[in-house]
Symmetry: C2
Subunit: 418 residues, 2 copies
């Protein structure tokens, strides 16, 4: 069989499995998840052994230490993966939830009911923890899953996958509900993206270039997250000490993630008092500041921001800063250069806060809080599958409910249309 034929076979079997999963009870799914969680811990040694192969290869290729660190499995990390599966088991089952129920005048009972999406393909790069999270979330939401992981962690991922799949057999669930492609090259991705009819949704997880490639080539619907260009706007009526604390947190607490601030916008009325202290704080923490002309008049040490800076996701200790003439200018800047992820206003003026909430076209819009809270766990959704910057189907943190769709179930007694 060619690679293509193999992948089509896997997708067909996943589709068949996806017909069975909607009818599986929460109890059986939860038992399976807990069995998976226990198996990970029991098999920690063999997982770590498989991971050593990946680490050896990566070192041979000259990978940097940050990469090796993300790739490495140890007992603590395996325990965390295991806990995450147990947390998913503890979450309510979204499948079968009645969203709306109507009795029509003709007696028809119409129920809008949450159901799984079907078969979900996940295309991601190295990081073994993603494998068990995705398997857990898809199983709980009743979806069959096809994982296509990167080659860097393939030995670790295959080992995790094999351990988890055994729990499916134990609880008589179809094995084809969970799949991991052994083939890691781009051809496998191309093939998956063409399998409309077998695969219902593709979720790419990884760098922007991977996501753009998937979106461009896919014939299957994609939910994605390009990048997080998050803004904080400090209004003329802001509590400036609160602004200082929140902006510092949004930039410095973990600069390498998508919900960290990349651009600070400051109202011209407070720029003169606010920026000198704020910039000093940030520079002391090692942040490089790139400002527009008005910022540089206030703080001479600041580098000049280029046009490109406003649309750059640094994921690093770099921040672009701009003075705006008011709320309107801030909103315009955010809608123009932002990525629709997370943006905040710092103000004590309720009307301005409401205008900001209304007009900023982003998944998560904050008043007086750090953008760093955009996260499934912080939002109280339990686990998450990533954060969507799309507007359709799922927006912001994607959790179990976002991995479902709905169908209408209509109960009659022979009603006909006249």
């Amino acid at each position: 069989m060619s690679i293509k034929q193999k992948i089509i076979k896997i997708a067909k079997e996943a589709k068949d499995a996806s017909r069975i999963l909607p009818g599986v009870s929460a109890e059986v799914k939860n038992k399976t998840l807990i069995s998976m969680a226990d198996s990970l811990v029991k098999n920690a040694r063999s997982l770590i052994r498989a991971n050593k192969k990946d680490l050896y290869e990566a070192k041979k290729q000259g990978a940097i230490s940050a990469f090796l660190d993300r790739l490495a499995l140890n007992e603590k990390r395996i325990a965390r993966m295991s806990e995450s599966l147990k947390a998913i088991a503890a979450l309510p089952d979204p499948v079968g939830k009645v969203i709306r129920s109507t009795r029509r005048p003709n007696g028809l009972l119409i129920k809008k009911v949450r159901v799984p999406i079907g078969v979900i393909a996940i295309v991601y790069e190295a990081r073994p923890g993603v494998t068990s999270d995705c398997i857990g979330l898809c199983l709980k939401s009743g979806n069959a899953v096809i994982l296509r992981a990167g080659k860097e962690a393939i030995n670790s991922n295959l080992a995790i996958f094999k351990v988890l799949r055994r729990s499916l057999v134990k609880y008589k669930l179809p094995e084809a509900a969970v799949n991991l492609l052994k083939v890691t090259d781009r051809k496998a991705v191309d093939c998956l993206l063409g399998l409309k009819g077998f695969i219902d949704l593709v979720i790419p997880r990884g760098g922007e270039s991977l996501v753009r490639l998937v979106e461009k080539k896919s014939r299957v619907p994609v939910i994605k997250h390009y990048k997080g260009i998050c803004h904080i706007y400090v209004d003329s009526e802001a509590n400036l000490s609160l602004a200082r604390k929140v902006a510092f947190n949004a930039k410095c607490q973990r600069p390498g993630v998508c919900n960290a601030m990349e651009t600070l916008l400051v109202h011209q009325g407070v720029a003169g008092t606010f920026l000198p202290v704020m910039i000093k704080d940030l520079q002391a923490a090692g942040v490089e500041i790139r400002g527009d002309m008005r910022v540089r008049k206030i703080a001479e040490t600041v580098k000049k921001a280029k046009e490109k800076d406003w649309s750059t996701e640094y994921l690093d200790l770099i921040l672009s800063v701009k003075v705006v003439s008011g709320l309107g200018g801030a909103i315009e800047h955010i809608n123009r250069y932002g990525s629709g992820h997370s943006d905040a206003i710092i103000t004590e003026n309720r009307a301005k806060a409401m205008e900001f909430l209304n007009k900023v076209d982003s998944a998560c819009v904050y008043v007086n809080a750090s953008t760093r809270f955009t996260d499934g766990y912080e939002f109280g959704l339990g686990a998450e599958m990533g954060i969507s910057t799309d507007k359709l189907h799922a927006r912001g943190p994607m959790a179990l409910e976002e991995l479902t769709t709905y169908k209408y179930e209509i109960f009659g007694r022979g009603q006909v249309r006249t």
Copy 2:
């Protein structure tokens, strides 16, 4: 300006308008809708005059009478368009509805709030009534709209559009909230489909070839409806007189629509008693029956169904009929050949009904009722924008709520992440 430049200009202005619409109150939107409704009636004469041009052109091109009938405007039809706008005004405003609200342990208040999608492009074929319906639904749901109508009704559509746009001015709403392209050729469609960033959603309405073209070319997300291959499965435990009535209704009441039955599946245990009477009823109503071998053994007058028949949407007085060995076979047939639109089981056995509901992967699944009820109005949703056979974002009848997305509004008092 080239056509492309003109369309980009319209899309940019629509995007700007879409920033204002989320903040417009239900009261202002409803007043505008009622003003639109009244204006249509007041301007009936000039609308009918514009329509005469389209009718003249269509006749010159040799259009068939069914087409001319769909194209024609008269006072009664204008009154119906007007009533539909008033009905939309009477529906609850989906915008601003709080879907979920959580107070987190750290004091953050997180609200999941319904918001408009943004700019919606609608690509459709001739039928002037669609114009006012789409404008009304998009306005009420807070979306800016760009209509690209077919050339056959362009004079009628432009006249309707001009009348409706005046009401926007009257209530100080941005005119660019509602747009109709004067250019009707395919180039205009191609251009719209590439305007990612300005247009948030494309809804094609029309024949399968138009829909497939839009889907193939679009860089903007599309919600669509390919076709309705609807099934009725008559189980061995069906009430056969109920089955006879429901199946007859699903095929014959209006055969040219997407929720009409195209294939009848009958359990082998009742085929011998049920099919002779059912086929007689249908043939008496002028229905051509195409059956598989087992059907033809029971009813000799039946034509042979080809493989292609099982996936054909006849939209006509033609029906394919198959005998299946049981519930499993029926479900398999539907999931294989169906279009995920509307499918029904006729049975008195509750367990079988539940299995059918669970396993048939369609937008609307019926027990003991005609598939003809799949319709926004019949479902109690008021007006509708069409029926989605997609699984993401919107499935089944698309009404006001389906024209919205959500955002998270987060209210803090200086919370930072630790």
